[in-house]
Symmetry: D2
Subunit: 352 residues, 4 copies
C-alpha cells in the first residue's frame, strides 16, 4: 500500500528518502482559515532535529520546511498543504555496502526483498528516521490547531535502558531538553546512553504520551477506534515495536475490580476516578486523558561488529557499521510521538 | 468512520448487534475459485463460541453461519461473500438499566456520548464480544486459504492473571481446549479464573500469536506496514489494550547488540539467528515467523458492586451487574486473535 | 476492487447475486437517531420492483427488505445498518447455457475472463439488475434524510428510443407510473417499447435527475467533486453508458457567452439566471439544482437470434435468449437513478 | 474529501495552486525498477504547456518537473515519487477583483462558499487548469509503463464549436499539433476558435480517447468498474461536463439488436464485431479498445462583459475579465485526457 495516512477527514502523504533531493509531506482535510505559526512550528521541529546534543548523531540538518502551497497569508486556504525539507548534508557513499551486507535490525534486507535491488538504500532511503521530519511538520501544524481548542499533547521519556521514570506525569516535562520528569532519573538515563555509545552499542526505551482536554464521544468501535488509529500511526515511526493504552499490558494481570474505572461526578461532569482505560472505552474517548506508551527498540546501527550474510555470495560476513548514528533515538522520538498523537486526535476532532 | 476493514486487497464489513436479528460480515477481495470447507470453518468457530466450558458465560449460541451469497458449489465466485449468524438466545431485558447506569470498563457511557441515547445498548450492541463471531467467519475462511499455502497462524494463552506460560511456543498448543503450552501452568490459570469468578470478579491475560511460513518481502514502510495493519485489526477485538511485536516492550530495555537479529544462511536461505524483530523490519516481513502478543484486560462485567453515576440524575449510584458473563475472555479470544492475524496476513499475501 | 462505495462519510456495501439466497446492503455513516419510515421505503422500492406493469419482466419479487441490524425502535442506532431481500423466484436453469455461449451486450464473457469460470452466472449473478434493489434500499433511506432537510431528488424519463420528452421538468413527474412530463410523449414511448418487444428487440433511453434544495458550497475540486462522485455511483447501475451535468455534451457546442450562467440576486440570495452548469462549478455545488442525465443502453437480452461464440469449441454459434426480460429497463431505472443521486448528495451533506 | 486519487493500487496526490510556489504530485503504487524516460515525459508535457500556439493563452511556463524523490538512477525505487513544477510567471494582481465579483462559469463563487474567503483566488488557485500539469506528470509516466506492455492511449479532438471530426480514429492523430483526423475539419475548428477569440468569446468541444491493447478481464462490477474509475478521474479535469463510453448517449436511441456487439473469433481470439460497448461490459474490459468521449465546456473566461453580483454589496455588477486565457482549452486538454485514461488503465493493470 502507500505512504498515505487515510484518516476520517485528514489525508497525510509522506514522501522522500534520506538522501534524495527532499523529504516532505502533503496534508489535506484541514479547514480553510487555520493559522499556522511558522516560528512555533520551527521550534517544534527543532526538538526532533539531529545534531543538537551530544547524545544524537552528528549529522546536522536545518529541518526548515519550505511551504510549496496550501497557505495564503499564513493561513490554510483549503487546498492541499505541501511542505518539503531539502536534504543538504548527504553522504550516500557511507551506505553502498549495505545493499549486499544487510545491517541486522535494519530494513536493508526486507527492502531488498520487496524492491528487488531498486530501492534507494542510501541512508535507509524511505525507511529512514529522517521521514519523521515531515511527520512532525504535519503533527506540528495539527498541534497548533488542537492547542487552540484546549487540547494538549505531551510526551515524556518513560524509560531508557530499563531505567524507569516513575514520577507522575506533568505536562511541562515535554518542554525539557531531556524530557524525563525526574531529573535524577534523567541523568541516569543519559549516562546509560553515553555508556552504550562508548561501547559501540545502543539502547532503547519507552515514550509515554498524554493527550488531555479531549472531548468524550470521539471515535468508533471495531476497526477505526481511537486505539486502532493511534496504533496504525505509531507503528509508522521507525523502531516502534509495541504500544499500549492506559494500563495496557499491566491490566492483563489485574482483576476487573481493580482495572475498571469507577464513574464519579466532578464539577458537574462525569469523570472516572482512575484512568486504567487510558481514556478510551469501546474505541471511543471517555473525556479522560488519552494515555499511551510506545516501546522503542535500541538503534540498530551499532559500531560493534555484527554477523550478517553477503547476499551476493550467500556467505556469512562480519559487518562493522560506521557512519553517524544516534546511540538512542528515544529523546528525538518524543516530539514524533506527539506528532502522531496529534494527527490521530485532530482527525477525530475534525470527524466530530 | 466505519466497521469496514479496508486492506490492500481485502475489504471486511462487520455488522450486527448482540441482540439484533443477526450479526454478520461481508468479505471481498478473495480470488474466485477458493474452496471453503464449511466443516472446518464450523470447528474453528466452535473454539470461540460461548457456553462450551465451565469457564465461560452460560449463554449458548450455535454460531452456525448462513451464507447468503458469494459461494457457488462450495467455492468463492468472485462476488462479495456475506454470511450471517442469527441471534437466538437474546435476553434484552438484562441490559436496559445500563443506559443510565453505565457499567465501569464497558462502552455504555462512551456509546451514550457518541450516539446520544439512540444506541442499541442490549448486550453491548455493536460493541459486544459477539461481533467477534463474524470476525472469526472471515478469519476462518482466510486461515484455510493461508494453510493451503503453507502458512500457519497459531495462538496460545501466554498469561492469565499474571501467571505466565513461559514454555517455548509449539503450534499444536492452539488445538488444545485450554491452549497453554504447559498443562501445569494451564491448571493454575484455570484455578485463577475460577477463583476470580467465585469472588464475583474477573481476570485478564496475554495472548501470543505466531504466524509461520510467511514469505519475506510483504508489507511496506510508514502507515501500511505489517505491524500497523495487525495492530489496527487487533484493537478491533474488544478488551485488547496493547500489542507488541517480537521482543516488543522487552526490547526497549535491551541493547542493540542483543536486540539485533544476526543474519545467517540455513538450507540456502537467509534467516535470522534470533527473532527479536518478530518477523518484521521496516514494516516488511523478513521471512521469519511473525510473532505478536496482545494484552487483554479483565472482563469489565463483574458481579461485585461498583461505583457509577446515574446519567439522568447525575448522582452517584452503586451498580451490581447481573447476567451471564465470562470471568475471563482470554481462552475464547485465542481464535479471534488468530482470525485477525489471518485477515492481515491474507491481505499481505494477496497484495503480493 | 470491491462492491463498497467509499464516500466521505457514508460507506455502502452491496452484496448478493441474482439467484443466491439473498441480495442486500450494509450502510454506514448515518447519524444515530435518524428515523426510517419503512412504509415509505417500501413504496419507493415498489417503483423499481419487477412484474408490476406490462412493460417489464414477468419475474415477480416482493422486494421486501428484512433489516438485520442497525435500527432500534425505527431509528438508526449508529451501528451498521444491514438489510437483505431474499431471492424467492429463482430459475437458475434458464442461464446455464450462457457460461459457454456469452450473450452479446451482457457481462457473461467478461465475468468468465475475470472469474475464470467460478462466477455465478445464474441470472447475471452479481452483475444482475437485481443488485439495484439493495441500492434502492440505501437510496430510499437517504432520500428520507434529505427530504427532512428540504432536499428533493426527482428523476424522469427524458428519452426512450430517441423519443424526447422536451417539456420542462416538474418534480411531480417522478411520482407518475410512467414518469414522462408529457403524457402524449409518454404514450409514444410506451408504444416504442411494446413495438420493440413484439419484434423480440429492446430499446434504451435517457433519464434526467434533478436535485433541488441542495446548499451551495458542498464538494471539492479534483477527484472528489460532485460530478466525480455522482458519476462513480451512476456507472454502478447496469446499462448506464454515459453521464452529463447541466448542458453537458450540448455545452461543448456552445460559446462561453451562452454557457456561462450570469449571477443575480433573488430574495437576497445569489443565484444564477440560467443553470447550464447543472448546479456544479469546480466540483462544488452552486446552490442551484444539481441536474444530470444518464444514457441507458437498450436491454441486451433480446429474443432475436444473435451471433456469439462457443467458448469451449471456439466456434461461432447463434444464440436465442429466452427467459424473462424487460424490453426497456428505463422506467424501472428511474428510482435507481434517484437512489444513486441520493447517496452522493447525502454524503456531501454529511461531509458538510 | 481530498485531491488524492485512491485507485486499487495507485495513489495520486495532486497539490498546488496556480500562483503558489509550485504545483506538483506524488504518485505511489508503481512497481520498483520502472524506467522513466524524462525526455519523453517532457515531450508529453509540452503538448499541454501553454504559450506554444496562437490558439492558447500567452502565459508561458516551462513546465519542467523537478523530481524530489522516488527515482534512483532513472528508475522508480519503490518509494513515493514526487515531482513539482515551480510557478514562475505569476501575475496575482490580475485576479484580486474576482473574490468579490465572481466570474460566471468559474469556481470563484463556489470556492468562496466552501472556503469562506480563505481560498487562494489568484489564477483560480487549486481550481486552475494549471493543476492538469501534475496530472500529466503522473499520466506521462504511466503512459510509458503501458506502452512497454503494448497498451496505447491516444486522444483526438472529436468536435469544437459543433464542428465534428467524423473521420475514423487513427492512433497517429494524437501526435499532431492540432489532433483532428481530418486536417480540413481541423482548419475549420481553428477558424472557429480564432473567430470566438476575436469576438471576446470562447468555444468548447469534445475529446475522444481510445485505449488499445488492453487485456480483457480487468475491472469489476458496481462502484469500481472501468467506467466508474475513468469517469471519476475525467471529472477532475476542469471544464469536463460529460462522459460517455462506446456509443454512449447514442446507444440510448438504439435497439438492442443494433447496440449489442456480436462475438466472433479472430486469430483464435474472441472479439466483438462492433464496439458499441466501448470495450467495457459489466465494468470489466472485453479486450476491445476502451473508447470514451468527454464534453469540454467553453472556457468561462471571456472578454465580453458579463453580469455578476458583488458579494460585498450584494448588488449586480458588470464584469469584464481581462488577463490571459485560452479561447478554447480543448487542444491543450487532449494530452490531459490521455493522462487520466493512463492513470485509470495503469491502475487496472497493476490490480490485475
Amino acid at each position: 500500500m502507500s505512504s498515505i495516512y487515510h484518516g476520517a477527514v485528514l489525508r497525510l502523504s509522506v514522501f522522500g528518502q534520506s538522501h534524495a533531493e527532499a523529504v516532505g509531506m502533503t496534508l489535506e482535510g484541514l479547514p480553510a482559515g487555520l493559522p499556522v505559526d511558522l516560528d512555533a512550528l520551527q521550534s517544534f521541529l527543532n526538538r526532533r532535529a539531529p545534531g543538537r546534543s551530544d547524545l544524537s548523531t552528528s549529522r546536522r540538518e536545518e529541518d526548515s520546511p519550505e511551504f510549496l502551497c496550501g497557505l495564503k497569508d499564513g493561513k490554510t486556504c483549503g487546498a492541499p498543504l505541501t511542505a518539503i525539507i531539502r536534504n543538504r548534508n548527504t553522504r550516500g557513499g557511507d551506505y553502498e555496502q549495505f545493499q549486499n551486507l544487510p545491517r541486522p535490525g535494519h530494513a536493508d534486507y526486507t527492502a531488498q526483498l520487496r524492491y528487488g535491488g531498486f530501492q534507494d538504500f542510501a541512508g535507509g532511503g524511505h525507511f529512514s528516521g529522517r521521514l519523521t521530519a515531515p511527520l512532525c511538520i504535519a503533527g506540528g501544524i495539527l498541534l497548533q490547531m488542537l492547542e487552540a481548542q484546549g487540547i494538549r499533547v505531551k510526551a515524556r521519556i518513560r524509560a531508557i535502558a530499563g531505567i524507569e521514570d516513575d514520577a507522575a506525569f506533568t505536562e511541562s516535562v515535554a518542554e525539557k531538553d531531556f524530557p524525563a520528569v525526574s531529573d535524577t532519573v534523567g541523568e541516569r538515563m543519559k549516562a546509560a546512553i553515553r555508556s552504550a555509545r562508548s561501547e559501540g552499542d545502543s539502547v532503547g526505551g519507552v515514550i509515554e504520551c498524554v493527550v488531555s482536554g479531549v472531548p468524550g464521544g470521539l471515535g468508533s468501535p471495531m476497526f477505526d477506534g481511537v486505539e486502532n488509529r493511534i496504533a496504525q500511526l505509531a507503528f509508522a515511526v521507525p523502531a516502534v515495536k509495541g504500544i499500549e493504552f492506559g494500563s495496557g499490558f499491566q491490566s492483563a494481570g489485574m482483576r476487573g475490580s481493580e482495572n475498571n474505572d469507577p464513574y464519579a461526578i466532578e464539577d458537574g461532569h462525569v469523570v472516572t476516578c482512575t484512568n486504567h482505560a487510558g481514556g478510551v472505552l469501546g474505541g471511543i474517548t471517555t473525556g479522560m486523558p488519552v494515555v499511551f506508551r510506545v516501546a522503542v527498540k535500541p538503534t540498530p546501527s551499532i559500531a560493534a561488529p555484527q554477523q550478517t550474510v553477503n547476499l551476493d555470495t550467500m556467505q556469512p560476513e562480519t559487518l562493522c557499521v560506521t557512519g553517524r548514528h544516534d546511540p538512542c533515538i528515544v529523546p528525538r522520538a518524543v516530539p514524533v510521538v506527539e506528532a502522531v498523537a496529534a494527527i490521530a486526535v485532530a482527525d477525530l476532532i475534525l470527524e466530530g
